[in-house]
């Protein structure tokens, strides 16, 4: 690191990245503390810190029992859940964009999320009808939902990839159109599931499909965490290869990358993360689109910056959106998917207009 620093005139982008990443981490930490304190029971930042330090055994202070309960059993798992979802959507988005070599590839836009949603809806509704899925559910327990999301998401991703890629190049218009087709088809399947569902299933399905973090608890956090952590590690290890892939598939091959293996690894991992996330929190759109794009705008496309940056900024955005979701109309709660879509859709339009000529749309 020191030796690299001496090289000097700031020629290598990687050298500037720690500043941005540290700043993002600090802001995220502050937002977490604010968010932990906000809600029906207001808790001051100092008390939040006191409860947290007691929880990890750093302090023997005696915070109020109710506050301690609210923080540890309700808000902390919810915020950790938001962090997991936000990071995985943003990092998966960044990686899919590199595989498609196109900055418009968002998991929700190109059908990964709705493919995952079909998997989840099938499991929720058909679980009691088909003995096969029922057995699967008994066998897999809490894992059945994220795994169903993963399989559905992977199938949709493969389909869009097949449709939109010819000779190693992805056509943007075809990719977005394929996304529309997959989304429409999946929407119809989910509609069918709603029609078939009984009242209890229908309520589950509706709550879940709007995109919400309200179901978060320690069980959902610990179910989702392994998927996200494994995914982040796999994708992080591919960061350098992804840089090279942006040059083009032939060029990446010339530079010693086994392109097909890399693409397969990325697509499967991204589908795993998005699928598990969608399974837990419903479809939350645009995070995977907005976050990597903002980062590239500020500091370039180097993945060793964009990937950790996406994890941090994705978490930041999701914790922030969740804070808005549960405080703006309190005591009611706005589905978080509604908020990210309200913020993200105009951004997407702006992106389209800005790059209209470049992508021949």
């Amino acid at each position: 690191m020191l030796a690299k620093g001496k090289i000097g005139t700031g020629g290598v982008s990687a050298l500037r990245h720690p500043v941005y990443l540290n700043a993002l981490a600090v802001v995220l930490l502050i937002l977490i503390i604010v968010s932990l304190g906000a809600g029906a029971v207001k808790i001051s930042p100092l008390e939040v810190l006191a409860v947290m330090s007691k929880a990890i055994g750093l302090s023997s202070a005696d915070p109020e029992v109710v506050h301690s309960y609210v923080l540890m059993s309700i808000r902390l798992p919810r915020i950790l859940f938001a962090i997991l979802i936000g990071s995985s959507l943003a990092v998966a988005g960044a990686c899919l964009q590199s595989v498609y070599r196109n900055p418009l590839a968002d998991p929700a836009l190109i059908g990964v999320s709705s493919g995952a949603a079909v998997g989840v809806a099938l499991t929720l509704v058909m679980g009691s009808m088909l003995s096969g899925t029922a057995a699967l559910q008994v066998f897999l327990g809490v894992w059945s939902i994220p795994i169903a999301g993963f399989i559905g998401g992977l199938a949709a991703t493969m389909l869009v990839f097949r449709l939109a890629t010819r000779n190693g190049r992805t056509d943007v218009a075809t990719m977005l159109l394929a996304g529309i087709a997959v989304n429409a088809f999946c929407g119809a399947l989910i509609g069918l599931m709603s029609y078939l569902a009984d009242d209890a299933q229908l309520r589950d399905l509706t709550m879940w499909s709007l995109g919400s973090l309200s179901g978060a608890n320690w069980t959902s956090v610990s179910t989702l965490a392994p998927f996200v952590i494994v995914g982040l590690i796999v994708l992080w290890r591919s960061a350098h290869a992804l840089n090279v892939l942006l040059l083009g598939e032939a060029e990446a091959f010339h530079l010693g990358t086994d392109v097909n293996r890399l693409k397969r690894r990325i697509v499967i991992t991204a589908a795993l993360m998005v699928g598990a996330g969608v399974g837990s929190a419903g479809i939350i759109g645009f995070v995977g689109l907005v976050v990597p794009h903002l980062l590239r705008l500020f500091a370039g496309a180097e993945h060793r910056f964009v990937l950790p940056g996406s994890a941090l900024l994705g978490a930041l955005l999701m914790v922030g959106a969740d804070l808005i979701a549960r405080t703006l109309a309190a005591p009611a709660e706005i589905p978080i998917g509604v908020i990210t879509a309200l913020l993200g859709a105009p951004f997407f339009v702006w992106l389209l207009l800005r790059n209209r000529n470049k992508w021949r749309l």
Binding site: I7, G11, R101, N102, H240, G248, E251, L255, R296
Partner: protein, 281 residues
């Protein structure tokens, strides 16, 4: 390697056949790119020049015959290992994402480091940029560069990939119409730079549209016609009016360059086809 244990120098094809979509693109091509030489591939459009380059790069697999480096066939050489001795300058390459020119050149070092560039990689990238005379572009966003500037950045990237390491290991640089986007002076600079690499035991293969560029820089010229090797030899042997007429269907005359002594190819006269009768018909 079991099929052939004999030592063959260079990057070679043996009776190479390539089929794509049932169509034979290349057939029976024997070629050798020798370290220390510039080999030029010329031929009419659709003769299979770029396909030949892609086969030599290992990008397309032979449908028949063999491609190899030294004693090994390409399919026996791991992709990552291959990338340490062979670089390719593509005809054009798009990059929709913001990278600094230096970062793009540094990607050329990817085969030599495991994801984290070392100080010597940065040093080599800077030297490759100086060699390509684009040091002033180092900090520029690649996406904002002109077509010619991008081409030179990619050239520097390819150079950084096979930058001489002092061991005299034979290495290969494959150029696919390297000067297509370049002005004359830059085309000369790029080809001059590529030709000088041969002194470091690097074999250069270029696909050229411009015959005079091939005549000026090549030690060995290979003419492809309709997927087959039509003729090969030194520029003086190959660039002769009768051969050019047969290969390109082009009436050309060849003169000698007053200072280099190499052949210069010119059109015999303008095409005086029966245009008028078509208009007045």
């Amino acid at each position: 390697m079991t099929s052939s244990s004999s030592y063959r120098p260079g990057l070679w094809t043996e009776n190479l056949q390539i089929k794509q979509g049932g169509k034979v693109i290349l057939d029976g091509v024997n070629l050798r790119v020798s370290p220390g030489q510039v080999t030029a591939v010329v031929g009419p459009s659709g003769a299979g020049k770029s396909t030949l380059l892609r086969a030599l790069a290992g990008e397309v697999r032979p449908s028949g015959g063999r491609v190899g480096i030294g004693p090994h066939e390409l399919r026996e050489i791991p992709i990552a290992k291959m990338a340490r001795v062979r670089a390719v300058l593509p005809q054009d390459s798009s990059l929709n994402f913001p990278f600094k020119a230096l970062d793009v050149v540094l990607m050329g070092r990817a085969p030599h480091n495991s994801g984290m560039e070392r100080p010597e990689d940065i040093d080599i990238a800077r030297r490759a940029m100086a060699y390509s005379r684009i040091s002033h572009l180092e900090e520029r966003d690649f996406a904002t560069l002109s077509g010619g500037e991008r081409q030179r950045v990619h050239f520097a990237r390819a150079l950084a990939q096979i930058w001489p390491n002092g061991t005299q290991t034979p290495m290969y640089l494959l150029l696919d119409e390297p000067t297509a986007h370049l002005d004359m002076a830059f085309a000369q600079a790029l080809m001059g730079g590529a030709a000088h690499l041969t002194t470091n035991n690097i074999g250069v293969l270029g696909v050229f549209h411009d015959l005079n560029l091939a005549a000026q820089y090549a030690d060995h010229v290979v003419v492809l016609r309709a997927g087959r090797l039509f003729t090969e030899g030194t520029p003086a042997e190959v660039f002769q009016p009768d051969k050019l007429r047969q290969a390109f269907g082009w009436d050309a005359i060849t003169i000698q360059h007053p200072t280099t002594g190499r052949p210069v190819v010119l059109s015999a006269e303008g095409d005086k086809g029966d245009f008028e009768s078509i208009i007045s018909a």
